[in-house]
Structure formats: C-alpha cells, structure tokens
Symmetry: C2
Subunit: 464 residues, 2 copies
C-alpha cells in the first residue's frame, strides 16, 4: 500500500489526455508535490484520434502514436505512473481510493490530499443477443485497436457491419472499405452524424454511397447469429423490414458513457451522461476533488448549462486547468462551444455551437440559413463548394451555431465561428469581419461572411 508520507499528495485517476495534462501542470505549478497517476489500461499518453490510422495502415507502428512513456514522466517530470491500476472505489471521507492491480487479486488503498478524476469514458455495450463474440469489437483504446488490426490481418474479413453512424463508426467504415472489405453501416437515427443538420448529413450519406458503403438508416440490430465463436450473420430491423447481412467483422460504435462507476457510493454529484458535475474551476461537489475530460461535465458556453462534450481538445484543456487548480492555482475553464471536425469520405465536416434541435430545446427562436460557397476563387483549380449553415437567435441576432462540409477548408473556418460564438457576436458582426483573402485561400467575401450576410438579409426580409 502506498503511504502518504510527503507534504502534499495529488492522485490522478487516468493516464491519457486529461490525466497526464493534469499531472504535468500540477507539477509545474508546484514542483514539491508528490503526484501519482493510476491508469487501468496498459498504455498511457497516446494519440487516441490517431488509432484509426493504424488500422488503415497509414501509421505503421502503434508506437508512433505514443507520446511519452511512464519512464519519461518519472524521470523528466517526477510523476509516478502506475499502469494496470484500476480505481474501484472512492472513499472520500478518508481521502483514499481503493485500487485493483491487474496482476493481483488484492486491492490497495492510495491516499490523497487532492484527487483529480480523469477516468474517461467507455463504449456503451448494447443488450443485443449474440453481442459477445470474438469478431465483434469496440473501437476506443489501444487494446481495441490492436485487436481489430490483428483480426483483420489474420482473418481477412470480406464483409463488415459497423453499428453506429457517428464519427468513429463512419471513419472505420471508410477504412474497412479502403481495405477492400464490403461495409454496411447500421444507424438507428434517420441521419448519419446525427448532431449535424440534415443538409450536412445527406452530403455525408451521398459520399458514403459513392464509396459503395451501404448505409441502413432508421435501423437496429436485432441479433447476431454465430458460427462457433464468430458472428456470421447480422439480423437487422429497418421499419417492418428484416435484413440479414453476411458478416465477418462487427464494429460497435454506439456511444460512450463516463467511467464513473467507482464513485457511485460517494456523494459526488453526477450530471449529463453519468459525468461528474464540476464548477468553473473544475472542482466536483467535493472541493478537494477535481474532474476533467470525458468523465466530467463541460459547461456549454452558449447556454451556460452543463453539457457532455467528450473531445480530446476539451480533455487537454480541462486536464491542464484541473491540475493547475489542484496544485494551488486559480484557473477558470470557460467551457466549450462543442466544436468538432472530422475527415471522412474525403470530406472535412465540422460544427460548432448548437444545432437547430438543441437551439429549440434551449428555447431560442431561431433562423437557420444554408448556403453553398466555393472554398477559394473559382478561377483557380481545386475550388470546391463548402455547404455552410448558420443558426442564429432572432431576438439577439447572435450566432448560436454553424456547420460546414466540403473537400477542405472547413475546420479552421468553423473555428472562426467558434471564436465568434465565444465572443457572442451577432450575424451582423460576423458578416463584416475582416477575414483573409487570397485567390488560393478564399473568396473576397469568405464563406463565413457570406452565410452571415444571407442571415442578415433573411432577418430583414422576414417578419418574425
């Protein structure tokens, strides 16, 4: 059992983006701190978002995704990292975490003065008959990735089913397809990437079809049928129709849930998607316990409400801020505008702020404007349309959300909107922003200006 024999002990639960950012920052703020990070898995400090590119073969060695080793943290930063150590219970009254070592049946207790929970999230396992099988995979961490890759390399599957038409599911569907596997995507909603507006989702669907990826929308898996230990048929329900799909490989990507089971007996308050409720300093309802990353709530900067926004960039920022504050700092996490971008099917797809459904849920009276604008001057090669959407509040005229899809030039334009939304700019203001123009980079009025100009016009012409 680790004993608390130093001046100040910070225990960090979780050894990836948020946890390691927290530990590193805490040590920077106060080098005298004794910092331990426990990580349930075998691997730490890797580029999670790069894992699909190991399956695709662009990244040849999984080690290329590893940023720092536990030895590096020990030697260079004075931070001890214990892999294969899983938090199984929090005893906040005695400031102690019960930890199970993978290698041993016993548990140990690790005491802390300050605790930073960065335990992440895990894929939700749906209750589908036959779901436990040697060729059904999640795709979330290094272990999953190695399993998928090994299975493909050894078994040469011909037909794959991807359950879930979100970012991860679609990216893996594309990669499987590129590897010569016939792919069917099963999505319960009527749209792919359902946080996007239909105009965007439809373009993504069209591009999936162009790649000969079959997509079943409004569909659920009824059961997986097995031949020995392997699924060989996926039975799908689409409306009243039943469809049986020959299957050599299944990838489940149906959402995630915060890893907060180990605190269920504590009085720490939870919020959206089982995530740990935090204040702007990233303190939980116990002020000496912090939370950051996929296990924690994120303040939605537009609504001011708790939200669940499990992105790597939020995790990194929150981790750094939680670490700073746990070590005695006084940093504020301003929250997130839910910015994201994906590269799928040769498209760059991005969004920030609220979508129309969310805006309505939060009580905004909105307009939504859609436009198609070239990414750069049409007289130069390579100009491709960017489908651009802006959602604005009619009363305040503030931009509430923006979405884009195109061949390129999307992500950093979405960031212009993210900045504008964070600054509470109106469509009138964004319309007139002084954005960069050169024929290879944009048009004289950037698509960001143009779509807001269209919104201004619509607000003028319509009576609300």
């Amino acid at each position: 059992m680790y004993t608390n024999n130093l001046f100040k002990n910070i225990l960090v639960i979780g050894g990836n983006d948020a946890g390691l950012a927290a530990a590193s920052q805490a040590k920077r703020v106060n080098p005298d701190l004794n910092i331990i990070v426990i990580e349930s898995g075998k691997y730490i400090s890797y580029g999670t978002c790069g894992l699909p590119y190991y399956v695709s073969g662009i990244i040849k060695n999984i080690e290329d995704l590893f940023v720092y080793s536990a030895e590096f943290f020990k030697k260079e930063r004075g931070i001890e990292i214990l892999t294969g150590h899983k938090a199984i219970e929090l005893d906040s009254s005695s400031k102690s975490v019960v930890v199970k070592k993978n290698s041993s049946p016993d548990t140990i207790n690790i005491d802390y003065d300050k605790l930073i929970i960065c335990s992440g999230a895990s894929p939700i396992t749906l209750n589908i008959p036959g779901i436990h099988s040697k060729n059904i995979f999640n795709f979330w961490n290094v272990e999953n990735t190695l399993d998928v890759k090994k299975y493909i390399d050894n078994n040469h599957p011909k037909k794959a089913v991807v359950v879930g038409g979100g970012s991860i599911g679609l990216l893996l569907a594309e990669i499987f397809n590129d590897l010569g596997i016939e792919v069917t995507v099963i999505e319960i909603a009527d749209f792919l990437l359902k946080e996007y507006e239909p105009e965007i989702s439809n373009i993504v669907l069209k591009n999936a079809n162009l790649k000969n990826i079959k997509v079943l929308l409004g569909s659920t898996v009824e059961k997986f049928l097995h031949d020995k230990n392997f699924v060989n048929l996926t039975s799908v329900k689409k409306g009243n129709e039943k469809i049986d799909i020959e299957t050599d490989l299944v990838l489940m990507s149906t959402g995630i849930r915060a890893n907060t089971g180990f605190i269920k007996n504590s009085s720490i308050e939870l919020s959206a998607n089982n995530s740990i409720k935090v204040n702007s300093k990233l303190q939980t309802s116990h002020l000496n316990i912090y939370a950051a990353g996929d296990c924690a709530t994120v303040k939605n900067r537009i609504t001011g409400k708790d939200d669940y926004v499990p992105t790597a960039s939020n995790a990194a920022k929150m981790g750094r801020i939680a670490g700073s504050n746990a070590a005695g700092g006084n940093e504020i996490f301003p929250g997130s505008v839910k910015t994201k971008v994906d590269n799928i099917f040769g498209l760059e797809i991005g969004k920030t702020g609220l979508n129309l459904k969310e805006a309505k849920q939060y009580g905004y009276n909105t307009i939504k404007v859609v436009g198609n604008y070239p990414s750069h001057a049409k007289y130069l090669p390579g100009a491709e349309n960017i489908t651009t959407i802006v959602i604005a509040d009619i009363k305040s005229r503030r931009v509430l959300g923006a979405q884009m899809v195109g061949k390129d030039g999307v992500g950093k334009r979405i960031d212009v909107f993210a900045t504008a939304i964070s600054s509470e700019l109106t469509v009138d203001e964004v319309y007139k922003l002084d954005l960069s123009y050169a024929p290879k980079v944009s048009t004289v009025w950037d698509p960001v200006n143009k779509i807001c100009g269209k919104a201004v016009l619509e607000l003028k012409n319509k009576k609300f």
Copy 2:
C-alpha cells in the same frame, strides 16, 4: 452631357470591387434609383488578385477573370456602366463631375444627387533615371497584365528585375522564376514583406533563395540603362556597393497611392496616403459624397484611427455599405483589422492586427511571442511547422496582432485571430478557445491556442 432628369441619381466613380458593389447594393436598396458607373479603364468587374495567375499560365484566358459584363449590369441590374470615362474634376458645389472620355478630346459633366467615389489606387512611379521604357512594367490592372504577358511571350526575357519586395512583387518574382526567367528582387527595406515581423520575413527570404531568386535588401535602383527603347542593365546601390544587373524585364512594385487627384480642388478631406477620409457610414466630409475601397481611409478597429488598408475584401465590404447608405440605408462599416494572406514560394503567409512597430507607434506596451507548431498531428503525413507570432498589450492582455507562415493552414487560423482581435479578446481567452481538432486538421491544442498559452506564461513569468 448627361442630364439629371430622374428622381434620384447616384454616380459611382470606379468599376471594380468597391464601385460595382456600391452600385449593385444601391440598386437593391432602392430599385428606383438611376445609377451610373464610370470607369477610366477598358475593363470592369474582374478578379484583380487573379491577374498574376494569367501571367503564370494557370489561367489560360484573361476573360476567365471577368465576373460580369457592362451588358449584364445594364440588363440584369439596371445599372449603366461607362468604360473609358475618367473623372478629372469634382465640382461639389454644383454636384457635378467633369469626365473625360478616352475616345474624345472633350469633357462632359455628369450630375449626381449622391456620389460614391471608388476610384481605387495606382502604382507610385519612382523618379529613377530611365524608368520610362518599353520593358518596365507596373502590375496593377488588366492592361498591365496583358502588357507583361505579351512582352514575355514575344521577347522571351531571360533576366528580370523586380523592384519592391512586397506581396505583388514577390508573387511576380516567383512566377517569372517558374517561367524560367532569372529573377533579382530589389527591396529598399532590410526585410521582404516589411509589414511582417523579421522571423516571418526571414523564412520568406530563405524560400526565395531556395528557388534561386536573388534578393537584394537595403537596396535601391540608381538608374536603368537602355539599349534603344529597352532596359538592358539595372544599376543598384546596396550600401556603398554598386551592382549592375543584366535586365530583360523590369517589374515595378513599389507601392500605391489613392487615386484622388481629381478632387484636389474640392474641399473633401484627405487622410493617410492621400486617401479620402470617411466616417463609419463611409461618408466623406461632404455628406452626400461617399468613398470606398482603395481610394478611402479605413478605420483601424484596434486603434480606432484612420488607416490605409487597400485589400479587396475591405473594398468589397465598403462598396456594399457605401452603396446601401447612399441609397438611403443606414449601415456601419466597423473597420478593418488589416487581415491579409499571400501564397508565395509554396508558403501561406498571413497577418492580422498590428505588427510590433505599429503597436509601439500607437503607444502600446507589448509582448511578442514566437512559436513553431505543427499544422496537424505529426503522426500523419504532411504535418509542417507553422511559425506563429502573437503580439499582445501587457496592460489589458488583449491580442493586438498575429502573424503566421507555413506550407498551409495559415489563412483561416489568421482569421481566428482576426475574429478574436475584433472581439477584443485577451491572450488568456484565445488560449482557451474551443477550436476544432482532428489529426488531419490540427493538433489537440491548435497553434492559435498554443501561441497564446505561451504568451500567458510569459506574462506570468516576467515582471513588467
């Protein structure tokens, strides 16, 4: 002579970005207006920034750069455009402009109720012995472009001198070089692109040299020596050194000045670089006369002061706003943050806000922070460093300016800064902005976040 026989006459001087935007918008606001546009040149409505790509050969027909014809404006928008009509004097007391037709020795008077001056700017002609020659060219409009192209096609020059190391000069230097012409650039300042910080300019210089383009900094042309009507030697002074350069072609790109000679006898107030002083509605000191584009002052949004920022995107915005207001609208031009981007030598080079020199001139006590950050995740191919600079006010912590150079991914990141500067964000706020991340698009902390994080750290560590 045109007679003022309709309800309301708007005369627009200038038939490119600003002028045509003004005319079109005025007509949209009030379709009953009688609108005439006079243009001194032969061509209207073309993509000025695309002209270099006609010289390079990427654009095969100059017509591909023409957007709308005079016939289009007449038929579709009810706007009359008179090309080859040059304003030579403004008589504001009688609300009339004296106009000289190219085809005739006579002048005509055109009356107006509202006048919108969008007369643009012209290259400055330096007083260098021998500067008037058949193989010395400016590069500013369609006529110049056709002249340069024709000269190259007919004469196959082997050696070119470009005088002026700004955006246009360097882009043409690159194009000449790509056409197999040996190029020497003569720049009076000690840096190329002198509105940039030295760290950026030095990278541009290095890339010029990599292309075997010779650059003489701190240098001036003493004289051009002629063989018949053609320059064959350029005599350059660099410090105490004299350098003679064999020359088959000279491109002059040493700055521009607002075309405001024709109002010299009026009482319209001028400001920076001879440009016409305007208020936020783009009215001149005569309230029925508006000005927009390269002939007008632009409010610097950071300093609140008059500035001269002759970009196509400012011209388009100002034109539209001036047109709207002249027709009875009530639109405000918020000003410019001096955003620009260029694609030269395989680099994307961008800036927004104040550079260090300007910040000091305006009395700011600043920090300047420089960083090098990959454009996207390093484990994927094509990640290249972006050299990133932020300049901030120490007291308010506001971002005052930002500059970047890299292979790509610069322009729209500069726009994030442009939006942040327009919103008066601090380095602390930009550091924590929720910007988009995917491995092909960015890093978990975007370079924009990172450089501001570095500034925050520097502000913390230093005593000011």
